[in-house]
């Protein structure tokens, strides 16, 4: 058996962060090879190195026995390596045919008729059907994925890297995709599949490489392992959670029933969610990025419409309430995207302090801004998590990201919140500040708030939350009683091994 790809001792650092630490990868020709691992394990970095989109610090790559050094993706394509990234490179305003040939037109003049003939024969070989002159905007997620694969074939790729190809697909479309991939490998092509989903590994792949924290922890034949071993390899042995904290559980502050939320690509990103958050507890949502947490969060804040189901806030139906009414009722948010959702960069800290609280005491009395009280409050908010700043009249853009995050987190805890929604609340914070922020949320919980925390970092959730639920492909899973903080159970739920 010959290797299509051999990567030997690949290392890559980004500043102080070691993204890849002497990683090996061996991919046999004519197989589907899985690369699995958590967010930040180094999967995408490794694939970008293979695709020439990233320069490695050290290590050797060889393709079909030839040692190569790709200076660009164009060179990788020349050598027959192609990649479909998570975010498709389809331009909606161009037709399917134009998208297909874009960047590989084969000369300064277009011969669209010839191109269409070749496109048609490639598609027929794969069993795909395309209306080549329709705008790509009309493609479904599955159609876009198929077009991406044809783009690789158009460029004569023999080694195809697919990064999370089923993330946007329905299970049926995902199954159909794997049928096409099997056709490709049967013809001698090689597929490298980056995935979080263990069923895909066991259903369709022959070998699997596990990355964790930038290191290769295992490379196995799929037939010689099992889901539970693989899940443990992916998640690793966790430190046992600190002694179970018994929260002072009160009434339900948030109840979500049968909630459906559409994603930004029109697919259903969150499906039939049911869960409760009670006063006094901090509930963590674990899961890999893109499992529907973002859409759930926006639905709870009220900035994204929901498809069905109910949200109730403090025992009151909030499904139809505006964002403001939810804030008024005591909901507070630490949004995911600080720059876009949480601050107005050119405004001072003082003015930013009122954002989301602007119509409430003490920031306003009636319809008039209460500037004196706002100054006092913004000083308090800055001090709570030790935001370093050059005066509250300075624009918030003059603060570092971490200091902005401290400010935003403190603002969400200001003025007796009833429900705290925190999306990666410790993003960009060092360990001490992370602990401060979680302890801050905890102290609000002790005073009767409930908190819902989304994080991609399972350790962080295990350390701070009272219990953890898991989102995977838009569905929410609650571990059985007694297993709410069992890292093995949660790890398996995260990758779909249970």
């Amino acid at each position: 058996m010959s290797f299509a790809v051999e990567m030997t001792r690949i290392s890559k650092r980004f500043g102080d962060v070691v993204a890849l630490d002497a990683v090996d990868l061996h991919v046999e020709q004519g197989t589907i090879h899985a690369v699995v691992g958590e967010n930040g394990a180094g999967k995408t970095t490794l694939m970008k190195a293979l695709y020439g989109a990233l320069h490695t610090d050290s290590g050797v790559i060889s393709i079909e026995g030839q040692t190569v050094t790709f200076k660009s993706s164009a060179q990788a394509i020349q050598s027959g390596v192609g990649m479909v990234s998570q975010h498709y490179g389809i331009i909606p305003d161009l037709t399917c045919l134009q998208n297909l040939i874009l960047g590989a037109e084969g000369g300064p003049f277009l011969n669209l008729l010839q191109a269409e003939n070749r496109a048609q024969s490639l598609a027929a070989k794969m069993g795909f059907e395309f209306d080549w002159n329709r705008d790509a905007a009309e493609l479904s997620p599955a159609g876009a994925q198929k077009l991406e694969i044809l783009k690789l074939l158009w460029r004569n790729s023999r080694i195809m890297i697919l990064d999370e190809p089923t993330a946007m697909l329905s299970p049926a479309d995902g199954e159909a995709l794997f049928q096409s991939l099997r056709l490709l490998v049967a013809e001698g092509n090689t597929v490298i599949l980056v995935t979080h989903r263990l069923p895909e590994v066991f259903g369709h792949c022959s070998r699997v490489t596990v990355l964790r924290g930038g290191k290769r922890v295992a490379e196995k034949m799929v037939s010689e392992t099992n889901p539970s071993e693989l899940a443990e390899l992916i998640v690793g042995k966790r430190l046992e959670a600190p002694s179970a904290y018994v929260p002072n559980i009160g009434e339900v502050v948030l109840e979500v029933s049968n909630l459906d939320v559409k994603g930004y690509r029109g697919n259903l990103a969150a499906k039939g969610l049911n869960f409760k958050v009670r006063a006094g507890e901090m509930v963590g949502i674990a899961g890999v990025d893109g499992s529907g947490q973002r859409e759930l969060f926006h639905a709870l804040i009220g900035t994204a419409p929901i498809q069905g189901g109910q949200i109730s806030l403090l025992a009151r139906d909030a499904t139809k309430l505006s964002s403001w009414d939810r804030l008024q009722a005591g909901m507070r948010a630490i949004p995911e995207d600080r720059h876009a959702e949480a601050v107005i960069e050119e405004w001072s800290l003082d003015e930013n302090a009122a954002l989301g609280l602007q119509r409430m005491e003490p920031f306003a009395s009636g319809r008039i801004v209460h500037e004196g009280a706002r100054r006092v409050a913004s000083e308090q908010i800055s001090e709570r998590f030790h935001t370093k700043h050059g005066g509250i009249d300075q624009p918030i853009a003059s603060l570092s990201g971490g200091n902005q995050q401290r400010f935003v987190a403190a603002r969400a805890l200001f003025g007796e919140p009833k429900l705290i929604l925190a999306f990666q609340p410790a993003r960009g914070l060092d360990l001490a500040a992370t602990r401060d922020v979680y302890e801050g949320i905890r102290s609000e919980c002790d005073q009767g708030a409930g908190a819902l925390v989304v994080s991609y970092d399972l350790d962080e959730l295990l350390e701070h939350c009272d219990r953890i639920v898991v989102m995977n492909r838009g569905e929410l899973f609650e571990p059985k009683a007694g297993e709410e903080k069992d890292s093995d159970v949660i790890g398996r739920l995260m990758v779909g091994a249970e």
Partner: protein, 359 residues
């Protein structure tokens, strides 16, 4: 090598400025000085290119606009519509909208005010005239605001189109149904004396109309409203970051629509005041581009609405002074060059991105 030495010199002046002005202001002040210098050089070149003496041109400009009580009165008269229309543009600008449609809103406001003021003579007509100008302007801005907020169509495109509709529609009206049959040209009749907006001060060569006071009070009130009220805060939030505003519970679309409508209403009021205070009738082309110059006024105003006052005065001064230039065989358009350069300088200073300082 040259660029290096320029950069070194820039750093040198920056250091001096930093020593003179506390905090991070040094860099900003040096940029402003450099830009102003570049602007002056550009102007000098432009005037020389027309074959005139730069110094003489400036003298003529100032003499024509500020040289006598009469000249000053006329400058203030030109300032009034620029100021009120500037308020309209400024309000929309703070909500993140570029209302190029003030020209059209001004025109329909002027037309509506003339028609109503002719129908109802006396103080009632004055009051109803203003009101109808406000309503007409608001109505004219509504579609642009709605399309922007709820359909995502860009307000610059829609308001430009509505400007054309306003110009041709009012021209058609004044050529037909509302034309004064006793007159040769396409104009309405003159409104009655009792319907006119009275002068604030009128003695000898000095004439100052109440319209100017309305503009000044309006600018002050807008500044207060934006800073001190919750709705002003929310409007500015929408203008600066609509996503963050929505996350903060603000209905950004409603705010956009509201800002556009109120902006249009003020633009309509500017047109109404132009008729009721100065022109006393409506005719096609009543606005000599006030709505467009108001864009410059608003852009020059800076972060506080009070900045509209010097901006409008400057534009009024150039408009009045430019007539004097013609006597010296300098093309009137040179003032347009002056304004263009000023706006580019202002924009270059204003829109420099605040650089994040790691702390």
């Amino acid at each position: 090598m040259v660029s290096m030495s320029v950069r070194a010199r820039y750093r040198f002046y920056q250091k001096i400025a930093e020593a003179l002005f506390r905090g991070g202001q040094g860099k900003r002040i040096v940029s402003i000085l450099l830009l102003s210098m570049a602007g002056l050089i550009l102007l000098w070149v432009a005037i020389v290119a027309t074959g005139a003496q730069p110094l003489g041109a400036v003298q003529a400009l100032l003499k024509g606009s500020l040289g006598s009580p009469r000249a000053i009165s006329d400058t203030l008269r030109e300032t009034t519509p620029l100021l009120i229309a500037g308020i309209a543009v400024y309000l929309a600008l703070r909500a993140g909208l570029f209302n190029i449609g003030v020209e059209g809103q001004f025109t329909v406001g002027a037309c509506a005010a003339a028609v109503v003021a002719l129908r109802f003579p006396g103080v009632v007509g004055l009051f109803l005239g203003c009101l109808s100008g406000i309503l007409a302007g608001a109505l004219w801005a509504y579609p642009a605001g709605w399309i922007r907020a709820y359909r995502g169509g860009h307000e610059v495109i829609t308001t430009i189109m509505l400007n054309n509709v306003a110009a041709f529609l009012t021209a058609a009206l004044v050529a037909g149904p509302i034309k004064d049959p006793t007159q040769e040209g396409t104009t309405t009749a003159n409104i009655a004396d009792g319907t006119k907006l009275s002068h604030l001060y009128n003695s000898g060569p000095w004439t100052i109309n109440s319209g100017l006071l309305i503009g000044i009070l309006g600018a002050i009130a807008l500044g207060w409203w934006l800073r001190k009220t919750v709705s002003g805060y929310e409007l500015r939030a929408v203008g600066a970051n609509p996503t963050a505003a929505a996350t903060a519970g603000i209905d950004a679309k409603r705010v956009m629509l509201g800002a556009m409508v109120v902006s249009g209403a003020i633009g309509g009021l500017a047109g109404a005041i132009q008729v009721l205070a100065f022109q006393h009738r409506f005719y096609a082309g009543i606005s000599s581009g006030y709505g467009f110059d108001a864009l410059g006024v608003a852009l020059l105003a800076g972060p506080a609405a009070i900045g509209l006052l010097p901006g409008a005065f400057l534009f009024g001064l150039l408009a009045k002074g430019s007539t004097q230039l013609q006597f010296m065989n300098i093309p009137k358009g040179i003032t347009g060059v002056v304004l263009g350069v000023l706006i580019i300088i202002a924009a270059a200073i204003r829109y420099r991105k605040a650089k994040a300082v790691e702390s």
